[in-house]
Symmetry: C2
């Protein structure tokens, strides 16, 4: 990334979410997003393949953080303790900016079936990454994929709570609380 | 559906899967699929909006069957007994033709990220329908969405086993066995 484009990625995300909210996702072009961010189309395409991907910017990074957190858990950790460690690493990376544009981001995604599909795929990818990290630690299937699913669900639920205006708890606390709720529900079911 | 096009839907699905396998998904057109099936493009578009949707033909029907099965379970059924009833109704609807083209269908889907996204969304839709059916019966969240997830996972795992050449068990048996495995894994996790 060139030195004269500080925070280009974040500026592009913010510009895109502003424009999607103001004039709709379909009517917004990459050129408009770049212009609003004070950047060029070339810079846009250095960061994202298209306007859709701006909304799913963190996917690779999120997968990497989950895998790192899972790998760093103590050897004796149970599968759900590994998931907790993975969630701690992921949720610890979120910034106040992400909280601020969270509600508008979710609104845009919810209003387009193509974007909902993409979001479902992102969540599935995070589940896949986390399940692979659990298998690497010797957790067999289907326990690995179930534990990973609980982790992904806890993350989604915690994110949705975190971005509500009334919330004053940090994202990592919310994610741990959601995982506990899911574990209890899971025990009651089985 | 017109009387002179018996099994038009099934013929279109089979023609599409044949062509996707022979010449690739990207190179196959709706006109070619219709021609191979001995039907017109107009008939194609009476059944499917585009070639992609041929691969996800059953989605609405599958959701309807799950919801019907869940609604018909006895009042005293536990959440997982409701899921079992839903799976019984869904899996009982599958035909030998669907088993025969299952492996090629999965191969096409696995080889295209766009199709994998669509498949993830289909699975999410089935989970959503089943969770809604459970909530209608008074099962609270997150138990409803967890039980629905176990049902959708059991269905996917059972379908994958069913279409292997060595398998000689009916799909409903496999789905029940997969749900039991998932319930046990879930209990061990929690």
């Amino acid at each position: 990334m060139a030195r004269w484009e500080p925070n280009a990625r974040l500026r592009l995300v913010q510009a895109a979410i502003d424009l999607f909210g103001e004039q709709g996702y379909d009517s917004t072009t990459v050129a408009q997003i770049a212009e609003r961010a004070g950047l060029t189309k070339t810079t846009f395409f250095r960061h994202f393949p298209d306007k859709r991907e701006v909304l799913f910017a963190g996917q690779e990074e999120h997968g990497r953080l989950l895998a790192e957190g899972a790998a760093a858990a103590p050897e004796t950790a149970t599968p759900l303790e590994v998931v907790t460690a993975a969630l701690d690493t992921l949720t610890g990376s979120f910034t106040p900016e992400q909280r601020a544009f969270g509600p508008r981001l979710m609104q845009v995604v919810d209003s387009h079936s193509e974007l909902r599909e993409r979001a479902a795929f992102k969540s599935l990818n995070l589940t896949t990454v986390l399940a692979a990290a659990l298998r690497d630690r010797g957790v067999p299937d289907p326990a690995a994929s179930l534990a990973a699913h609980l982790g992904a669900q806890a993350f989604s639920a915690a994110f949705a709570r975190w971005i509500t205006p009334a919330n004053d708890r940090p994202l990592p606390d919310l994610a741990r609380a959601c995982l506990t709720e899911l574990r209890e529900a899971s025990a009651a079911l089985a």
